[in-house]
């Protein structure tokens, strides 16, 4: 008989009561979307890991601060929204601090390709991805946040809206503008030798 997975709230309460395993489950549950979100803003995997770690630590501290309320009420804990919101902010700060956007070397992306056609396909994919990453950098901050949460974290629009504290319609609207702008940017970058825009 399948047992239901514990909710984020249950795991938070258990962790704050000293359950090490609950910590592991929570981190394991959200590490991939959080890492994917900050990866767009970080220049190296280590930097992305550091940002991911900070996002989790800040989210757990937020949970600890609201501990009495958490214990008193059986209400749902928006841990996912917290940690992703923090990740977006950390990523934004990282980008603002200007350390970002040398692209990941193609050879590290192309590790699984063995045969020549596969290698070419992977190379094209990597190039397209590099162009897109460069174009995402040029998006206005809100559009970039929405795009990253939707694409990298894989959130539905309702959750993107919850994380950013905006309406679902607003999130959709930002995403529409982001995609259209990206399309224009990528076309412009593709037309420029070396993919470097103005």
């Amino acid at each position: 008989m399948p047992t239901e997975a514990p909710s984020d709230g249950d795991l938070c309460r258990a962790f704050l009561a000293g359950d090490r395993q609950a910590f592991g489950v929570l981190v394991g549950r959200y590490q991939l979307p959080v890492f994917a979100v900050v990866r767009r803003f970080a220049s190296t995997p280590e930097e992305a890991k550091d940002l991911t770690q900070r996002a989790f630590l800040q989210a757990f501290e937020a949970a600890q601060r609201t501990l009495p309320k958490l214990i008193a009420t059986a209400g749902e804990v928006p841990f996912k929204a917290w940690v992703l919101r923090i990740a977006v902010n950390l990523g934004k700060n990282q980008a603002r601090d200007g350390a970002r956007w040398p692209l990941a070397p193609v050879e590290t992306i192309d590790e699984t390709a063995s045969s020549r056609p596969q290698a070419l396909e992977a190379l094209e994919k990597a190039e397209a991805e590099a162009l897109t990453r460069k174009a995402v950098e040029r998006l206005p901050p809100r559009q970039r946040e929405v795009f990253s949460l939707r694409i990298d974290a894989g959130l539905p629009f309702a959750e993107v809206a919850e994380v950013l504290g905006i309406s679902e319609g607003n999130a959709k609207s930002h995403f529409h503008y982001a995609v259209k702008r990206l399309r224009d940017e990528v076309r412009a970058l593709s037309a420029t030798p070396g993919g470097e825009g103005p």
């Binding site: 910590f23 592991g24 981190v27 397209a128 897109t132 694409i151 990298d152 529409h176 399309r183």
Partner: protein, 142 residues
């Protein structure tokens, strides 16, 4: 449904039969869907990314424990805080202690209340006797 409508629905991730039907008959929208697939592809994680993720949970746990240890005051901290508290309290008591009021009394020399008795004016053969009523002990009154 127009191509603009389809674009909007594709952007929102709609893959309904209606959208697919339109795509089957519209090369422009198919091209847009392909382009969209490239634009909205998640960032590929490299082997180095996966390696960083593999140790993330254990490292985050270590960092959490370190933060908690820093946030928790040590016994030395408690002792220092208690000593500071005692010092502040004693300083407070010292400044708030009751102070005895100093009263300066002015001593005024009173004028002589009793004038010196005048010597009786007696002749050479006169004797002055001061006659007083004797004090008898109680019960021996004459």
């Amino acid at each position: 449904m127009t191509c603009d409508d389809i674009e909007g629905r594709l952007i929102e991730g709609d893959s309904s039969a209606e959208v697919n039907e339109h795509l089957a008959g519209c090369a422009a929208c198919r091209a847009f869907a392909d382009e969209l697939g490239v634009l909205t592809a998640p960032v590929s994680l490299s082997a180095a990314d996966r390696a960083a993720l593999a140790s993330l949970e254990a490292d985050t746990w270590k960092a959490w424990q370190q933060r908690q240890a820093r946030a928790r005051p040590s016994w030395f901290g408690y002792a220092a805080a208690a000593a500071c508290g005692a010092l502040v309290a004693s300083a407070g008591f010292w400044t708030a202690r009751p102070v005895r009021e100093v009263v300066v009394e002015r001593v005024v020399e009173a004028p002589a209340l009793v004038a010196e008795a005048e010597e009786p004016n007696l002749g050479p053969d006169e004797v002055f006797f001061e006659v007083t009523w004797p004090d008898f002990p109680e019960g021996e009154t004459p």
